[in-house]
C-alpha cells in the first residue's frame, strides 16, 4: 500500500472515529466505535511513519512502529501530529550522514605548513612527520589523523604512502582511513548499479548513468586507485558518461566530466570537442578555462595558456587555479 493511500485511509478512519463520538448510539457503543476507528487510524499512521522513516538509521523497525503507535493511540490527534513532526525532522534535518553527489572533493583543512604541531598541520608537515620513522608514534599518529580528517587526492596519496609504513599501528590506521574514503564512493556505485538494473525510463537511466560516471571518476580524482585499476575506473567513467548522453542526459557538468576523462586518456582532440559541447550546453566559461589551458599547455601553446589565465581578473583569486593563474600572470 502506498504512503498516500495509508495517509488517506488513516485520515478517514480518524474522521470516522471522531464522528462516532457525536453519533446517536448509547455511550458504550460510541466509545467502542471511537476506539475501533482510532485504533485502525493509529495503526495506519504508525505504519506510514515507519515506512517513511529514513532507512539510513539502523534501528529496530518493529520497536519504532510500536513507539509511533503508542503516540498515535494514547495521545489522539496531537500524537499523530507529533509523529509527523518527528518524521519531518529526521527526513529534513538529520540527513547530514548521507553522501552528497560528487561535484568536487573538499580540500584538506590545513593546506599550508604550520610550525605549531599541536594545532594541526599542513600536508607538508604531515608528509614530513610521517616520513620521519624516528619520531614518536604519537606524533606520527597525529599527522595521520590530521590528513585523514580531510580528503582529496593529496590526502589519499599520503594515506597510501602510510600504508607501507614500518609501524603496524600507523599503517593499519592509514589503511582504515583510506578504506573509509573509498567505501562511501563504492557504496554509491553499487547502489547506482542496482538502480540501473531496474530503471525503466531513458530519463532515469540517464540520471543513474550520470551518477555512475561521476562516482567512478571520483575514484580517479581522489587518487583512490592507481595504475591499471585507475585506468579501469577512467574507462568506466567514460562508458557511463557516454551512456548517459545516449539516454538524453546532456548537461554542462557531464560534458566537463568528459573533457576531464579525455584529458586523462590523453585524447586531446576529443577533449577539445567535449569542451566545445560543454560551452554550447551553457557551461560557465570560467569553469572550462583550466581544461582549455591544459590542452593548450599540452600543445606547447604557452601564449594561449597565458591569455586564458589572464582573460578574467577573478580567476586569480579562485581556489587552486588561482595560484596557477598568478604564476602565468607573472611572466
Amino acid at each position: 500500500m502506498s504512503a498516500l493511500k495509508l495517509l488517506v485511509y488513516g485520515l478517514l478512519s480518524e474522521q470516522s472515529a471522531l464522528l462516532a463520538i457525536f453519533g446517536p448510539q448509547p455511550d458504550w457503543q460510541r466509545v467502542l466505535l471511537f476506539l475501533t476507528g482510532h485504533l485502525i487510524a493509529s495503526a495506519l499512521f504508525s505504519l506510514l511513519t515507519t515506512i517513511s522513516f529514513p532507512t539510513c538509521y539502523d534501528i529496530n523497525r518493529k520497536g519504532l512502529s510500536g513507539l509511533f503507535f503508542c503516540f498515535n493511540f494514547f495521545v489522539p490527534g496531537f500524537g499523530a501530529m507529533g509523529t509527523l513532526l518527528i518524521l519531518l525532522y529526521f527526513r529534513k534535518f538529520m540527513t547530514s550522514g548521507e553522501r552528497a553527489e560528487f561535484s568536487n572533493v573538499p580540500l584538506p583543512p590545513f593546506r599550508s605548513e604550520s610550525s605549531a604541531l599541536g594545532a594541526g598541520m599542513g600536508e607538508g608537515g604531515a608528509w614530513s612527520r610521517l616520513r620521519t620513522v624516528g619520531l614518536p608514534r604519537e606524533q606520527r599518529l597525529k599527522a595521520l589523523l590530521s590528513v585523514g580528517a580531510g580528503g582529496g587526492g593529496n590526502a589519499s596519496r599520503l594515506l597510501q604512502h602510510a600504508t607501507g609504513d614500518s609501524d603496524d599501528e600507523i599503517r593499519l590506521l592509514a589503511f582504515n582511513l583510506c578504506e573509509r574514503q573509498e567505501q562511501k564512493i563504492q557504496q554509491a556505485i553499487s547502489t547506482a548499479l542496482e538502480a540501473l538494473k531496474t530503471a525503466d525510463s531513458p530519463t532515469l537511466k540517464a540520471s543513474v548513468c550520470r551518477n555512475l560516471a561521476f562516482s567512478y571518476w571520483e575514484m580517479v580524482y581522489s587518487a583512490l586507485a592507481q595504475d591499471d585499476l585507475r585506468n579501469f575506473f577512467v574507462e568506466q567513467a567514460a562508458k557511463y558518461a557516454e551512456q548517459s548522453r545516449k539516454y538524453g542526459g546532456e548537461d554542462p557538468s557531464l560534458h566537463i566530466l568528459m573533457t576531464r576523462i579525455y584529458l586523462q586518456k590523453r585524447d586531446y582532440a576529443m577533449a577539445e570537442a567535449a569542451i566545445q559541447s560543454a560551452l554550447a550546453a551553457g557551461a560557465d566559461p570560467l569553469k572550462v578555462v583550466p581544461y582549455q589551458a591544459e590542452l593548450a599547455f599540452n600543445a606547447r601553446d604557452f601564449k594561449t595558456v597565458h591569455r586564458l589565465m589572464m582573460q578574467d581578473a577573478t580567476i586569480r583569486f579562485r581556489p587552486c587555479i588561482g595560484q596557477v593563474a598568478q604564476f602565468w600572470g607573472a611572466r
Binding site: A119, G120, T163, F175, E179, Q183, Q187, L229
Partner: protein, 505 residues
C-alpha cells in the same frame, strides 16, 4: 555439537582461556587451539570461551577433542544479571583501593597493580572490596565517577562518560565471578591478552597456579585499531573544542583500558610465547618482561599435505585462492581489485575466496558488490568453506591480502602442498616467504611479499608466477623446503611440551 551438551569435569590439567575463538569461531587461532589440545592427549584440557553476545556465534565449529573434558561459555554482553537495586554507601576501604588503581592507570609503576586488586575476591565481596552492586549503586561509586569526570574527562557529555565507564568496567566483575567459580586447574593458558588475559591474571592470583600466555597477534594493537575506526564511540566536542589531530577522549579511554588489561596479563603470566620476533618486540614495548618471552612458531602436520604435490596438474592452474574468513582484517577487497587487474592480462583467471562469510555479512555483501562494480562477478567465486586437501591441487597460488596476521597456518599448509604464497607484509609473512637468517634465506623465496592495500603489487607478482612456470616451480620448492625444515608440528609440540611440563610441576 549444541551448546547444551558441553563437557563438564571436576578438574583439569590445563584450562584454556579463549576469547572469540575456538570452538565457536573458525580461523587460524581456533585451528591452532584444536591442534594443541589434540597434540597432548595425555593431558586433560578445559576451556572457557568468552564471547560478546550469544547471537553473534552459531553452533560449535569443531568436533571437540576427546581430551577436552570441560567447556564453559560466557557472553559478556548477554548474561548481564545486574543485582537488585539497593541504595548503599559503599565500602570506604574498597573505594580507596579503587582510587589507587586509577592513580596506577595514570602512572604505572614497576610493582604493578595494588595487590588487593589482583584478587578476584576484591570484586566479589562488599567488605574490603567493591562488589558489582557497589559499583552500580553505591553513593561512593557515583561520587567517584563524578569526581573523575570533573578532573579528567575532556568530553562535555557526562551521560556518555557515565555509561562508557559502566559498560567498560562491568565485564571485570563478570570475569571475577567466573574466576571465583571456575573448576580447579593445574595451569592456565590464555591465547590472548584482553578479557581472556585478564581472567587468566585473576585466576593466577586467585589460585596461585601458573599462567601461560600464547599471543598470536597483539590484542591491544588490534583493539586500538578497532577503536580508532569505530563509529559508535562518541566525540561530543564542538568544532572549537575539537583537535583534528587528536582522538576523542572516549576512544583514548577505551585504548587505555585495553592496555591496562594487557599489562595485567603480562604481569601475571609466568611464560609468554610469541609466534615470531616482531610480536616479541611489541610485547616488550607494551610492558612484558623480555626474560619471560620465548618465540615458538606455529607448525603443521606436513605428512597430511605432502601427498597433494603429486596430484597437481602439470600446468599451474590459473586460479588464485584467498583462504580465510570474509572479514575486514583479511582485506578481501584488495584481493578482488587485484583479480580485476589480473583478469585484464590473464582472461581465464579466477579468484576464489575460500572461507565462511557469515561472521560479517555486511562486509561480505560489500565484497560481492565490489566484484560486480569491477565487472568480475563471474571471475570471483565465494566458495565458502573448502577442505584444504581438496583445494590445494586445484589452485595456482595462495594469496593473503590481510592487514594483520600472526603466523598463518594456511600459508604453511599451502607450502606443504607445494603452493607458493603471495602475501602482504604483515605478521610473520615475510619470514615465511623469504626466510629470516642466512640458513633460512638459503631455502629460497616461496612466493612474494607486497605492501598492504596495494592490488597492483599483488597482481604483479601473481602474474609473474602464473606466467613463468620455472619461477613458480622454484617458489613451490622453496615453500616445501621451508615448511619441512622449520615449521613442523613435531617441533612446535616439543616446545610446548617443555612449557607445559614447567607449568604443571
Amino acid at each position: 555439537m549444541s551448546s547444551g551438551k558441553l563437557p563438564k569435569a571436576a578438574q583439569v590439567d590445563v584450562m584454556l582461556l579463549l576469547e572469540g575463538t575456538f570452538p565457536y569461531v573458525s580461523g587460524g587461532v581456533s585451528s591452532w587451539v584444536n591442534q594443541i589440545i589434540r597434540g597432548f592427549p595425555e593431558l586433560d584440557f578445559g576451556a572457557v570461551f568468552i564471547g560478546s553476545k550469544a547471537g553473534e556465534y552459531g553452533e560449535i565449529k569443531y568436533e571437540l577433542p576427546p581430551n577436552l573434558k570441560h567447556l564453559q561459555v560466557h557472553y559478556l554482553h548477554d548474561e548481564h544479571t545486574t543485582p537488585p537495586v539497593e541504595p548503599c554507601k559503599g565500602d570506604k576501604a574498597g573505594f580507596e583501593i579503587l582510587q589507587r588503581l586509577h592513580g596506577w592507570f595514570a602512572n604505572p609503576h614497576p610493582d604493578g597493580l595494588p595487590a588487593e586488586l589482583k584478587q578476584a575476591s576484591f570484586y566479589l565481596h562488599n567488605k574490603g572490596g567493591v562488589d558489582y552492586a557497589q559499583f552500580l549503586y553505591a553513593d561512593r561509586s557515583w561520587e567517584y565517577i563524578c569526581s573523575l569526570y570533573t578532573q579528567r574527562c575532556k568530553d562535555p557529555s557526562f551521560v556518555d562518560y557515565f555509561w562508557t565507564v559502566r559498560n567498560m568496567h562491568s565485564p571485570i566483575w563478570q570475569l571475577a565471578a567466573i574466576a571465583g567459580s571456575l573448576i580447579p586447574a593445574r595451569a592456565y593458558h590464555t591465547v590472548s591478552t584482553g578479557y581472556a588475559g585478564f581472567l587468566g591474571g585473576l585466576l593466577h592470583h586467585h589460585t596461585g597456579r601458573p599462567l601461560l600466555l600464547s599471543e598470536h597477534g597483539i590484542y591491544t594493537k588490534e583493539r586500538r585499531i578497532d577503536i580508532f575506526n569505530n563509529e559508535w564511540i562518541q566525540d561530543n566536542r564542538n568544532a572549537l573544542q575539537r583537535d583534528l589531530t587528536e582522538i576523542s577522549y572516549f576512544r583514548d579511554l577505551w585504548i587505555r583500558f585495553f592496555e591496562t588489561l594487557g599489562r595485567f596479563c603480562y604481569d601475571a603470566a609466568g611464560q609468554i610465547v610469541s609466534l615470531y620476533d616482531g610480536v616479541r618486540q611489541r610485547q616488550i614495548s607494551d610492558g612484558a618482561l623480555p626474560e619471560k618471552i620465548s618465540v615458538v612458531p606455529n607448525g603443521i602436520d606436513v605428512a597430511r599435505f605432502a601427498p597433494l604435490r603429486s596430484t597437481r596438474p602439470a600446468e599451474t592452474p590459473k586460479v588464485l585462492a584467498l583462504l580465510g574468513r570474509v572479514v575486514p582484517i583479511k582485506d578481501i577487497k584488495t584481493y578482488i581489485r587485484a583479480v580485476r587487474i589480473l583478469v585484464s592480462h590473464i582472461p581465464d583467471l579466477e579468484g576464489w575466496v575460500v572461507g565462511p562469510d557469515g561472521e560479517d555479512p555486511e562486509y561480505a555483501a560489500e565484497c560481492r558488490a565490489l566484484a560486480q562494480s569491477l565487472e568480475i562477478a563471474d571471475r570471483v567465486r565465494f566458495t565458502g568453506f573448502m577442505n584444504p586437501v581438496d583445494l590445494f591441487p586445484r589452485i595456482g597460488l595462495l594469496v593473503l591480502s590481510s592487514i594483520s596476521e600472526g603466523l598463518p597456518l594456511v600459508a604453511l599448509e599451502g607450502f606443504a602442498a607445494g603452493v607458493p604464497l603471495v602475501s602482504t607484509d604483515v605478521g610473520s609473512c615475510r619470514q615465511l616467504v623469504e626466510g629470516v637468517g642466512d640458513e633460512d634465506r638459503a631455502l629460497g623465496v616461496a612466493g612474494g611479499i607486497v605492501p598492504i592495500n596495494n592490488p597492483q603489487a599483488i597482481a604483479g607478482i601473481c602474474r609473474l608466477l602464473l606466467q613463468d612456470q620455472e619461477a613458480w616451480n622454484k617458489a613451490s620448492q622453496a615453500g616445501i623446503n621451508r615448511v619441512e625444515t622449520l615449521y613442523t608440528q613435531q617441533q612446535m609440540f616439543a616446545r610446548y611440551r617443555a612449557l607445559y611440563q614447567e607449568a604443571l610441576r
